[in-house]
């Protein structure tokens, strides 16, 4: 990726250009020390002089922020402010007429910024004061008074915080004085420029120590650049938060959001005073010290998927390269390409007015439909793709270009969504919204309605991802929170489980449920993370830790098949592979070919596979397989338990025992009670030392009261402890305990259960036989079936 600048610049300005600003229509306004403001077209042609202010010079220029062209309300939004050296700022309309002049500071106004809603304007001046103004220029508050000139300010994502700098210090001050401010020493010498991106919530700063740094919103350092030749005068985030650019004397850098440099352009323009990205993030304008305004176009953007590479060659041309066939296709578009995305056999290209959907097998006939507004986010999954713009919000389309749904929820703010906090699977769309980033919302893809319950977490969620395997019943969500802990939860019955800590990034495999995560210097592959909900002890087996030199803050790029691509902090791409056996195993299990699966595990002799198989077998109640897998893992206790479960006479009892095995006693109890196996339920609770519940059940069903009391007594006798529970003490006096009667009752119950089972088993055996016949070739017959 790089910025393409024209080789020559012509400018009507005769002196240093101090600032530039884009409006929504894609026009650039530039103000200069020669007292003029000029309007430029997107292509870098000076269109006309907007106005001339003779009495003062300009320091900064900002357009009133309007999110969408369609949201514009009257002429109010068609204005911009300029800061002046005489301590005032001017509100100027689009046409160039001066609407208002406000005296703001002593000395010059150095910087000014609108908040994201456009309801407030912050200014910083040479006198070291930061002030907040209303939209119409009425003074609201003085936020800070420092002894130094305020060279840069930036609003926080929700417009409730303001970042400013004085000297070498960066300060985040909340607008409401109740909360605490964050302050830290950012650079070795004067900080000249700042930016804060609302989408990825990261802060950029640079100054006279010739470095730029990336911080998160709590002031933690994410990246520190090497030293440049000269002080850095401007930094600017791309609106999407994926990129930023940095300007110094004669150079403009394009960097990834994690800090490393994509490209470096040398320009003969003197000291670059200010950079500004266009609203759609495809172009950049720079105010140069020699009076030029430079226009850069973002080109050579590349997306890869399996064997296809799509490269943005010019603003309206894409080059498709098939690496295997060595074929090259050129796609030309009518207007500028704003977003493109390649995944799941399709390339979706969003231009300024159209959306084109190409299949990777046919580049000639795309599906095309018109789009209404600038696309903010484009995300593809197997069945459909998501398109986000500020006007329509979220929209789902199929690859035939048919509109699928328009998911909505309360408090949706489309412009703050990014790739990491939106996740798609075949049926479900998961979103962490900016306004409440501790919860995850699930939306149905085809209806657009909210489904399931919200996932509520105690900390801010940074990354979310949905598992991609086709069955939607046991679909899982993973997320990473602010503390870099990795959690997993099922979608439909939320139960958080912490899988790992200190995780930089995590990704699901694109076809099966394998989870990969990077933590410092290590890659962790969880072959069957669902094991957390089947048998937690298996997690240690299914986890594979690979040493790899990815360093800190590495991010995943893709995980197709067994190939995993990681982008290191310094921008290098790191490829790594995982064992392909797991894929085969999953395939067998999906097809219920258990004996093939066992054979595969035997062949591979890998505990990871055995553990996966054990977890999957337990999950699908395949006891014999589970027994074998546990035996292979040397988990003797588990094997015994499986044998015990197999010996149980009734199906319900087996179910309950398995639920107990999965650490869900409530579920087990409800199964037993539903089946009328009261004694088993009571027995289960006594086994779990859950005396109160056992007694409660006994009282409720008026059965086995004496049994409970007797077992309790036995237990106390063994442990040599006095009875302390009040209820038991009382009942001990009331109830007569007769051991023989109890034993008879238990035998009776057991007899009844096995009898019931035989009766019902008789009916089912026929069905099971048929079932067994259909399975003839591959899978083995469970022993239970043949004996019945």
């Amino acid at each position: 990726m790089k910025l393409a600048f024209p080789s020559k610049f012509a400018s009507p300005h005769t002196d240093l250009v101090s600032a530039v600003g884009w409006n929504l229509a894609g026009e650039v306004y530039s103000c200069s020390d020669d007292h003029t403001i000029w309007k430029w077209s997107r292509n870098g042609e000076a269109l006309c002089r907007v106005c001339t202010v003779t009495e003062t010079s300009f320091t900064d220029l900002q357009w009133y922020p309007s999110i969408s062209q369609r949201h514009q309300t009257g002429s109010k939004s068609e204005m911009f402010v300029v800061g002046c050296t005489d301590g005032s700022f001017l509100i100027i309309s689009k046409g160039g007429s001066r609407e208002k002049r406000v005296e703001a500071h002593e000395g010059a106004v150095i910087c000014l910024r609108w908040n994201f809603e456009g309801t407030a304007l912050a200014t910083g001046g040479e006198d070291g004061i930061v002030k907040i103004w209303s939209q119409s220029g009425i003074h609201r508050s003085t936020l800070a008074t420092t002894g130094y000139s305020i060279y840069a300010i930036a609003w926080g994502p929700d417009s409730d915080q303001l970042l400013f700098t004085h000297g070498t210090v960066l300060v985040i001050r909340p607008i409401q004085s109740t909360s605490k401010q964050v302050e830290w020493e950012g650079h070795e010498s004067l900080v000249l420029t700042l930016d804060w991106n609302p989408v990825n919530n990261c802060i950029l700063s640079a100054g006279e120590d010739c470095r730029y740094k990336v911080w998160d919103c709590y002031g933690r350092l994410l990246y520190r650049s090497s030293k440049f030749d000269y002080s850095i005068t401007s930094v600017a985030w791309c609106p999407s938060g994926e990129l930023f650019s940095v300007a110094s004397f004669g150079i403009v850098l394009l960097c990834d959001k994690s800090g490393w440099v994509f490209s470096k352009e040398r320009l003969d323009t003197g000291l670059m005073q200010r950079l500004a990205w266009s609203k759609d993030g495809t172009q950049i304008a720079g105010a140069a010290g020699n009076g030029c305004v430079v226009f850069g176009q973002l080109v050579a953007r590349q997306v890869e998927w399996k064997r296809i590479i799509a490269t943005l060659e010019e603003s309206n041309r894409i080059r498709i390269q098939d690496v295997l066939n060595e074929t090259v296709e050129e796609l030309d578009f009518r207007d500028r390409i704003i977003k493109m995305s390649l995944n799941a056999n399709h390339l979706v290209v969003a231009t300024a007015t159209q959306c084109c959907i190409y299949s990777t097998s046919n580049w000639n006939t795309p599906h095309i439909f018109e789009i209404k507004d600038t696309i903010i986010l484009l995300k593809l999954c197997r069945r459909y793709f998501l398109m986000v713009d500020a006007f329509c919000g979220l929209q789902l389309f199929t690859y035939e270009g048919r509109h699928l749904s328009n998911p909505k929820y309360q408090g949706l703010r489309a412009e703050s969504l990014n790739d990491q906090i939106v996740s798609l699977s075949d049926d479900i769309l998961a979103i962490t919204d900016h306004s409440d980033n501790k919860t995850v919302i699930f939306l149905d893809a085809s209806k657009g309605k909210q489904v399931g319950e919200l996932v509520r977490h105690t900390l801010e969620i940074v990354v979310i991802s949905l598992s991609q395997m086709r069955s939607s019943t046991d679909q899982k969500l993973i997320f990473i929170d602010r503390n870099q802990d990795l959690y997993i939860t099922p979608i439909f019955s939320v139960a958080l489980f912490k899988l790992a800590t200190m995780i930089d990034d995590a990704i699901w495999n694109d076809s099966i449920d394998i989870l990969a995560a990077v933590s410092n210097q290590k890659m962790i592959v969880l072959y069957y993370p669902h094991a957390a909900y089947v048998d937690k002890d298996l997690l240690k087996y299914v986890k594979l830790t690979k040493e790899c030199l990815v360093g800190e803050n590495a991010k995943f790029q893709s995980f197709h098949g067994s190939r995993c691509t990681i982008r290191r902090k310094d921008g290098a791409t790191y490829f790594t592979d995982i064992s392909p056996y797991a894929f085969l195993l999953f395939e067998h299990v999906v097809l219920k070919q258990w004996d093939q699966a066992i054979r595969l595990c035997r062949y591979a002799k890998d505990n990871i596979l055995w553990a996966c198989l054990a977890a999957m077998a337990v999950d699908s109640k395949e006891l014999n397989t589970a027994e074998m897998a546990y035996a292979a893992l040397n988990e003797v206790d588990k094997v015994h338990y499986m044998l015990h479960v197999k010996d149980l006479p009734s199906e319900d009892a087996r179910q309950a025992e398995l639920a107990l095995f999965k650490r869900r006693p409530e579920e087990a109890e409800s199964i037993l009670l539903q089946a009328g196996l009261i004694y088993r339920a009571i027995k289960m609770h006594t086994r779990l030392f859950n005396w109160d519940r056992a007694l409660e059940l006994a009282l409720l069903h008026k059965q086995h009261l004496d049994t409970v009391l007797w077992i309790r007594q036995q237990y106390l006798k063994r442990t040599h402890v006095e009875e302390t529970k009040q209820q038991f003490r009382q009942l001990n006096q009331q109830v007569q305990i007769d051991l023989e009667k109890i034993l008879a009752k238990i035998d009776n119950d057991k007899e009844r259960e096995s009898h019931c089972q035989r009766a019902s088993g008789h009916q089912t055996s026929k069905h099971q036989l048929v079932h067994a016949v259909t399975l003839v070739q591959g899978p083995f017959l469970p022993k239970g079936v043949s004996s019945k």
């Binding site: 020390d33 050296t85 010059a108 150095i110 130094y148 000297g167 000291l271």
Partner: protein
């Protein structure tokens, strides 16, 4: 007001190539060292030969340094710097320094621009040629002369002019006329503008149309190319069949050729056979005639030998006839008739043809065979053939025999031929070798060859 100055100063100093970074906050507090350094650097940049003492350790020296510097600036580029402000070394000092820096910056900018543009007009200045100068000089004189002439007419014109101004003109009429003219002009202008705009619109429409057509063309070409690329389902089968057909045709043509050749061979052979047959026929007839004559002679009781000789010498005396005759004694001459009868009996028989096709080398080979085995063969054969011969005789009947068949003696020749008919190829060779002619030649004297 110092922010913008500092910003500009920083920018200009960087462009001029000042090696240190000047901080935006440099002059927040008085910073005389930096001011002195900048000033010294700027002076050096202005004129490297300047002698300027940079010692600023004490107050007096500082003042002296500034005095000297301001003096130099005043004497050189005629800039007046405020010494007091410089000495205060704060934001105002920057303003003073900026004056010098701006001067140098403008100069460097102009120089670089000149360098760039110099390339443009440099060559045009170079050829200062006499021709154009002379032309210009003559132009000047001519202009002077015409000016003089025009000025000379001035008094007369003045009179006319004054007269014209004296005349009272109707301003309204003139105004009206002018207005009319103006409106007409405006109308024509608007009409032409309209025309222009409409034509422009047309042009745009046409261009759009052309573009659209081009796109369409491109698309359909693309589609055409994809269609070209598509291979019909039956193609594989078709190609296989085509290949088969080709193979079949090759075999067919080969066979046809062979057949043709064989037929031609057959035809040739048949002709040769015919000729031979006729030849033998003729010879036989001659022989018959002679024999008849001899017989007559004998019957008449004349001397046989004499007539024989005379007959042999009289009739072109081909060696065959004579030797043949020698070989056979007169008693058995009748048997000679038999082969002819045989030949005549089976002209269509293919075996017969095959027999005659045998190449002459073989004949020679056979000729050289030792005497004894042949005789053995011929003896054994003669026995066999005897019966075969009888069979033949029975079959053919007597009608084929021109001569009297009453007495039947089996000759070796005859036995061979018939033997061949019954047996395989070996006998065939033998038979050939025992052809009446050849055997005659074998046994006769060598001079026949």
């Amino acid at each position: 007001m110092s922010f913008i100055d500092i910003r500009k100063f920083v920018s200009i100093m960087k462009v001029l190539g000042y090696s240190h970074t000047i901080s935006m906050d440099s002059f927040r507090k008085p910073n005389f060292e930096l001011v002195a350094d900048c000033l010294h650097w700027l002076m050096m940049r202005y004129d490297p030969t300047i002698d300027l003492d940079t010692d600023i350790s004490v107050e007096a020296r500082r003042v002296a340094f500034l005095k000297r510097a301001t003096h130099l600036v005043l004497s050189g580029p005629r800039l007046k710097l405020n010494l007091r402000r410089l000495y205060s070394a704060d934001g105002y000092a920057v303003k003073e320094l900026l004056k010098v820096a701006q001067l140098l910056h403008n100069a460097t900018m102009a120089a670089t621009n000149n360098e760039k543009e110099g390339a443009d007009f440099g060559p045009s200045l170079k050829p200062f040629d006499v021709k154009t100068t002379r032309l210009l000089v003559s132009d000047i004189t001519r202009c002077g002369a015409s000016l003089y002439a025009v000025l000379e007419t001035e008094p007369a014109l003045q009179e006319a002019r004054s007269r014209a101004t004296m005349v009272n003109t109707d301003m309204d009429e003139i105004e009206r006329g002018l207005k009319e003219a103006i409106t007409a002009m405006l109308e024509s202008i608007s009409a032409s503008e309209q025309e222009q705009s409409s034509s422009e619109k047309d042009e745009k429409a046409m261009e759009a149309k052309v573009e659209k057509r081009k796109l369409e063309l491109e698309r359909s070409e693309k589609r055409l190319s994809t269609l070209h690329n598509v291979r019909p389902a039956y193609m594989d089968k078709y190609e296989a069949l085509q290949k088969d057909l080709h193979d079949l045709f090759v075999t067919y043509s080969e066979k046809h050729r062979n057949l043709q050749w064989l037929q031609s061979q057959m035809e040739e052979h048949r002709l040769a056979e015919q000729e031979k047959l006729e030849d033998t026929d003729r010879r036989m007839r001659r022989l018959q005639r002679r024999l008849h004559e001899e017989e007559l002679c004998i019957l008449r009781g004349e001397e046989v030998n004499g007539s024989m000789v005379s007959a042999g010498s009289s009739e072109e005396s081909d060696g065959e006839g004579t030797t043949f005759w020698k070989w056979f004694d007169g008693s058995s001459f009748k048997s000679i008739l038999d082969p002819r009868a045989k030949v005549e009996a089976r002209p269509a028989n293919t075996n017969d043809r095959m027999i005659r096709k045998a190449p002459p080398e073989w004949i020679h080979h056979v000729k050289r065979l030792p005497e004894t085995p042949r005789q053995v063969v011929s003896n054994t054969q003669s026995r066999e053939v005897n019966s075969a011969k009888n069979r033949d005789q029975v079959k053919n009947g007597d009608d084929t025999k021109p001569g009297p068949p009453s007495t039947h003696q089996i000759s070796p020749n005859e036995s061979d031929i018939s033997g061949d008919l019954e047996e395989g190829d070996d006998e065939l060779l033998d038979m050939d070798g025992l052809d009446p002619k050849d055997t005659a030649e074998d046994d006769s004297t060598d001079d026949d060859f």
